[in-house]
Structures are given as C-alpha cells and as structure tokens.
C-alpha cells in the first residue's frame, strides 16, 4: 500500500481529438478518439488512433476507448492484481469481442475496425496503464515530464500495431505501479507526438508541462482546457503533420481539502511544479 492507502483521489481530465488535413482533403473522418470516465473511485483516460487504411477505424477507436474505460472502472481492483499478460489478454479479448459484434452488424471484416490503444486508469494510490501501437504515454513527476510508454512502430514510417493484429498480445504493453510522486498523465496520438516529442533527443517537449499546468490550475474548467487544447492543435500541431491529432490528460486534484494530511503531502511533492501554477501565460 502506498502513501495514500485507500483514500479517494479526485482527478481532473481533459481530452480532445482533431481531424488532420489529409483526412479533410480525402473526406475521411477523424479516426482518433479519446474517452475519460470516473466511476467506482476509478478514473480512466483512453486514446485510440484508427488505422488510416481501414474504412471504419474511427468506430474501432471509439469502441476500444469506451470498452477499456468501462472495464477498468468496473474491474480495477481485480484486474490490477493479475499478471500483465493476463491483463492484456482480458482487455484485448473484450475489445475484439466488441469489434466482432460491430463488424458482424455492419457485415464487414473486423480488420476494418483496426486501431491503436493507450490508456491509464487510477484508483487510490495505484495506476494501471496499457499501450499497443504508436502514440506515447507520458507522466508528470518531480518537475519533469517523463515517458512511461514509447511508440511501437514497424521499421518503416507508416507501419504500426493494432488491436486486431493476430499477434496483438505480443505488442500489448502493461504498466502498473504506485502513484507515489506522479501528478498526472498524458496520452498522445502519433499526430500530436510530432509536436510534443523530440525524436532525436528522445524527450518530451516543454509544451507538455505547459498544457499540464492548464489542467492543474483550478481556475480553468475542463471545457476551457479542452477548448485550449483544440485551438493549439488546430493552430500549431497541424502545421507539423497532416495526420489527426489527439491528447488526453489526467491530473490529480490539488484541492483535496477534505484530507489535510494529503494536501500537505501533495504540496510537498508539487513544490517543484510551483512554477506551473504561476506560469507566465497561465
């Protein structure tokens, strides 16, 4: 048991997905999706990027993100006790079963619903995260933005792994641990990754802590943070990619007034992040 024991942690989330110029040009929908859900003291953020060549991949992305959010909210305690390979098997089977059902309804092969998947679920002092394909999972800790899970691509630029691949289980990475000093998480699709990750140096850019600071600031409603994310993606990220862009953020609520000891502990660990609260642009 970590520092927080079974205490409830209030979380804030903000997620957006924006259509890329190549999809506008080809008249195809945005194939990225994000979902956030809080239920049973569990908060989940998920993100999925539908395969460009698949006709219904936006539906696949929607089903995958919603399934993992629902399943984690309902089964977090059981799931986190299991081995990584069992967790990935349970989640993947659930997703593929839902995709098969939809594919059957629409009389299409299930591959037409292919997508990547990234998620993080948190409850009390623990987190459970998973990742298949490209995109990136980052987290905020000790005044730094760190990487939890990197993209898994093929050798070439347009190759990655999807939930519907035959060997998907081999590429499904699971992460679970105590939250300890983590203040929040960020999920990003490969489109956003072009702006938020420096490939040569292998580091997340400063823009990550900027957008995270917006969510930490209680003066900003979820709607305002989401509108700001959308506006920045449209005006800046889409200059660097023709792909869809999505981001999903989760932060632990810093106004846990009901738990003075938690607040004291939290303010201690967020000391290095203080600059973020009084961010010059914030």
């Amino acid at each position: 048991m970590g520092k927080l024991g079974n205490i409830k942690i209030a979380c804030r989330t903000a997620g957006v997905f924006v259509q890329g110029s190549s999809h506008i040009k080809n008249n195809t929908p945005c194939q990225d999706r994000t979902v956030s859900k809080t239920s049973n003291n569990v908060t989940v953020i998920s993100l999925s990027d539908g395969a460009g060549s698949c006709s219904k991949s936006e539906i696949g992305a929607e089903i995958s993100t919603q399934f993992v959010a629902d399943y984690l909210c309902d089964n977090f305690d059981d799931l986190i006790k299991k081995k990584d390979e069992i967790i990935s098997k349970i989640i993947l089977e659930g997703i593929v079963s839902n995709l098969n059902e939809k594919a059957s309804d629409l009389n299409l092969p299930v591959n037409e619903f292919s997508s990547t998947l990234l998620f993080v679920g948190v409850k009390s002092d623990q987190y459970l995260a998973g990742h298949i394909g490209d995109g990136l999972i980052g987290y905020f800790e000790d005044n730094e933005t760190k990487i939890l899970s990197i993209p898994e691509n093929g050798e070439h630029s347009n190759e990655t792994f999807f939930t519907t691949n035959k060997n998907a289980l081999n590429h499904f990475r699971i992460y679970k641990n105590n939250i300890e000093n983590i203040l929040g998480f960020i999920l990003m699709s490969d489109g956003s990754y072009e702006s938020l990750f420096n490939k040569k140096e292998g580091i997340l850019t400063k823009a990550n802590s900027d957008i995270f600071s917006w969510l930490l600031n209680h003066n900003n409603s979820q709607e305002k943070v989401e509108a700001a994310l959308k506006s920045n993606i449209e005006n800046l990220f889409l200059k660097k990619t023709s792909d869809d862009c999505s981001v999903n953020l989760l932060s632990f609520d810093l106004l846990a007034e009901k738990f003075p000891w938690y607040k004291a502990w939290l303010s201690k660990i967020v000391e290095p992040f203080k600059g973020l609260y009084s961010h010059p642009k914030g």
Partner: protein
C-alpha cells in the same frame, strides 16, 4: 471563452524532420543505351527531379541516390535531398554491370538507414528502380537472393523496368518474383518519371496505417502490361 492565456509558445514544440523516402535509381548506361535511349533517360531523370522539387511536401521527404552501370558502377548522386543535388548527365559506354550496381545500391541503402536511425528520422520503405535494356554482364545470383529476401520481408519496393526488346526479362523477373517487370513503351522515359514522382508524392503524404495504392491506371501511359 478567452483562451489567449492558454497558448503554447511555438518554440516549445518539437521540430522533427519529415519522414524520408529513400529512392534509388539504378540505371543502365551501357553502350547499348547510346543515342536516343540515353538522351531520353537524361530528360526523364531531369523531369523527375524537377517534379519532386515542385511538390511542397515531397521535396522535403524524397531522398534520391542515382547509381549507373555502364562500364563501371558509379554512384552519380549520393543520397540526399533533391534540392541540394545537381541534375546528372549520363553518357552511354561499357558493359552492363547490373549485379555489382545492385550490390552497391543495397550497401548504400543500409548505410542511409543507419544514418536515419541515428538521427531519429523516420523513413518509409525504400524504393529501388532498376532500368536496363540488356542482360547483366556480371554475376547477379547473390543479389537475387538478397533482393528477393528484402522484398519478402517488405523492406524494399522494387520496380524493374525493361527498355527495348533486348532487355533480359527473365533476370528482372527473378529479381522481382511478386511483381512482374514492366516494359517501357518505346522511349517513354518522361511518362515513367512523371508517374514515379506522382507515386512518391502519394507515399510522402500517407499517414501510419494507411494502405498506399499506386496509380495502376497511370502505368498504362508508359508501360506495356502484356509481358
């Protein structure tokens, strides 16, 4: 809703290079290409380079290397961005060292990929275009194994193009067991290179997971498909 205060400074975003498409033109410049064929080949390559430069996206993605085999194997243009490259002028002479030329090209491709990986540059599956009007004058068996293995593993896209009636189609077929070699209609080099630049443009604008479909209908403008 006032979002002015929630704006990212553009300098705080990554400035990652565009994914590269390595393209190798492996060209027969042996003495049998003398005359109209070498002239049209020169025009075609020039047209190809200009077409890439005119494309706002592809000019930053396409990286060209040109290897000729006429008497000697020569890396006429080293891998790089087309905007920094000079349009070459080929002369026809000597024998057809196709085996050595392909082997050299594979080595150059390997080196380039290592450079991409080191620099954190993403890249698409490399393209190799072999154009010949004859038959190899050297040993080609080793490279047939290497090339077919790369194609099988989807690590190389090969376009074998036969020029004229004397091109050895059986050798080109061995190099490319999945896709039949294509035969250039007359000396329609310009049409071929226009098609090639359009195809490179399609790849450069593709996104992960997207199936890349080449303009098969456009092939008919320059290729005889009945071989």
């Amino acid at each position: 809703m006032n979002l002015k205060s929630l704006t990212i400074n553009e300098d705080e975003l990554a400035n990652n290079p565009s994914p590269r498409i390595p393209i190798c033109l492996v060209l027969d410049t042996s003495k049998s290409m003398y005359g109209a064929a070498i002239k049209e080949l020169n025009n075609g390559v020039s047209l190809f380079m200009s077409a890439i430069l005119d494309d706002e996206v592809t000019r930053y993605s396409a990286e060209l290397s040109v290897i000729t085999f006429g008497g000697v194997v020569h890396n006429v243009i080293e891998f790089g961005s087309i905007e920094n490259q000079k349009i070459p002028k080929f002369k026809a002479y000597g024998g057809t060292l196709m085996g050595e030329a392909i082997e050299t090209t594979l080595d150059l491709l390997d080196e380039r990929k290592k450079e991409y990986q080191k620099a954190g540059v993403d890249y698409f599956q490399p393209w190799m275009i072999i154009m010949t009007d004859g038959r190899p004058g050297d040993n080609i068996n080793n490279v047939i194994t290497q090339i077919t293995e790369l194609i099988k593993k989807r690590k190389l896209t090969l376009f074998p193009i036969a020029i004229g009636e004397k091109a050895d189609l059986s050798i080109l077929s061995k190099l490319s067991p999945e896709k039949k070699p294509l035969k250039l209609k007359g000396l329609k080099f310009n049409e071929f290179f226009q098609w090639l630049s359009r195809s490179v443009s399609v790849v450069s604008q593709s996104i992960p997971g997207e199936k890349i479909e080449l303009d098969i209908e456009g092939l008919k403008e320059w290729a005889s498909l009945e071989i």
